[in-house]
């Protein structure tokens, strides 16, 4: 009881996930993976493409995100993201599609360093999911 906090993931279309009994969340923050436990200091950060891991009493859930912002305050974790897919829903064909898109983006020559870095991240993460 004492070690749980609330998580809310929203995307522009809807409230994607609300959970009250979360023990730990690992998010792919821009400067590296970050684990968040209860009573973490208030923080705002943004995400790079990666996997959000949500550990709760009922088990572990993984979500693939391409971008987003997180805010943690008073034991409320809000994650705003435009692209989020549950890893269990991510079948081979979908994964392939996303991978192709990311690879095309990464191979463009005229994009900025940061965009290139983000695209490379996407490719790497998508390849690692199995």
């Amino acid at each position: 009881m004492s070690e749980e906090f609330k998580i809310e993931i929203v995307n522009p279309e809807k409230s994607f996930l609300v959970k009250e009994d979360v023990i730990e969340v690992v998010v792919p923050a821009f400067e590296g993976e970050m684990g968040i436990l209860k009573d973490h200091i208030s923080i705002i950060s943004f995400l790079k493409p990666g996997i959000i891991k949500v550990f709760s009493k009922s088990g572990e859930e993984n979500y693939y995100v391409e971008d987003g912002i997180i805010e943690f305050k008073n034991n409320n974790l809000s994650i705003l993201t435009s692209t989020i897919i549950s890893v269990t829903d991510l079948d081979k064909s979908k994964q392939g599609d996303l991978l192709k898109k990311a690879e095309a983006e990464a191979s463009k020559s005229e994009i900025s360093d940061q965009a290139k870095y983000l695209a490379d991240q996407k490719v790497e993460v998508l390849r690692s999911i199995n």
Binding site: N11, K14, F30, I43, I44, F46, S82
Partner: protein, 290 residues
């Protein structure tokens, strides 16, 4: 007076019009429910986004170094107006309400001697504005192909706006859309998105946040996203308003058609009876003269 045949034809044509408007009303009602749901579901995102930005701008160290998207260019010369309308007509005062609001804003700006640039989203707004402000319209975006408002489209519009801002093409950006209140009421809105005006009191949160990376970098990453989010919100509100407006307009049209059919039917019956009476009189007076 119209002949019996003409009246009959008119009644038939009004009845078939009524059928069409009735069908359109039903379709609009079904779409309205979906649009309203997605507008409501989209609200948490834009609210949260606003909150975070508010907290960030409170925490930002120096106002002078704040990103231009937040604080503005410091000038007030070129206004960009994004007028968001529908792609389809037959929705009552929906489009003309936005246009009216936008036009009064335009003339205010032009009277002040400032420069005006217009982006229209949706073909109906473009049709109505190009007669008067044709030379001011710099871009016309239309999402006829996409069925529902989606974030991808909003992001496209947002990117165009940011590109133009970074190229120094305008100082202040305002979007015009209809806010959905209920089926009969839609409020035309003018919302300034660049620079973001934080009218809300600044001292409501004295919470200190940790930022990773620093505030400036987060802000410069977040503000473009916020623009797309605001546009997406406007698009959702707009599509709910459009369906609501169409539904009540079509409801009125159906009712008016019903009244017209009643009136025409009475007229038809009267002239039918008049014809019969006339014939009878002719027969009787013919018989009398024998």
């Amino acid at each position: 007076m119209a002949s019996l045949d003409d009246l009959k034809k008119r009644i038939a044509s009004v009845k078939s019009t009524q059928k069409i408007t009735k069908a359109m009303k039903m379709v609009a009602a079904a779409k309205l429910r979906r649009a309203q749901e997605s507008a409501e579901r989209g609200r948490p995102y834009s609210e949260k986004m606003n909150n975070i930005i508010l907290n960030l701008s409170n925490g930002i160290s120096s106002k002078e170094n704040a990103p231009k998207l937040l604080s503005g260019t410091g000038e007030n010369k070129v206004h960009l107006c994004v007028v968001m309308t529908s792609d389809r007509g037959l929705c009552g005062g929906f489009n003309s309400n936005i246009i009216k609001k936008a036009k009064s804003y335009f003339s205010k700006i032009l009277n002040e001697g400032k420069q005006l640039k217009i982006i229209t989203v949706g073909s109906k707004g473009n049709d109505q504005l190009k007669r008067v402000y044709g030379d001011k319209i710099i871009e016309n975006i239309s999402f006829k192909e996409s069925k529902n408002a989606n974030y991808f489209d909003a992001d496209k519009v947002g990117r165009i706006i940011i590109e133009k801002f970074e190229a120094g093409e305008f100082d202040i950006c305002t979007i015009f859309y209809n806010q959905f209140k209920n089926v009969i009421t839609q409020l035309p809105q003018a919302q300034q998105i660049i620079p973001l005006n934080n009218k809300e009191d600044h001292n409501n949160s004295d919470e200190s946040y940790e930022f990773e990376p620093d505030e400036d970098e987060i802000l410069s990453n977040l503000l473009p996203k916020n623009i797309s989010t605001q546009i997406f919100k406007a698009m959702l509100e707009n599509s709910a308003s459009e369906q609501g407006s169409r539904m009540s307009a079509m409801d009125n049209a159906t009712r008016n058609a019903g009244e017209m059919v009643d009136k025409l039917t009475i007229e038809y019956n009267r002239s039918r009876q008049a014809a019969i009476t006339k014939e009878l009189i002719e027969i009787i007076s013919g018989a009398e003269s024998l």
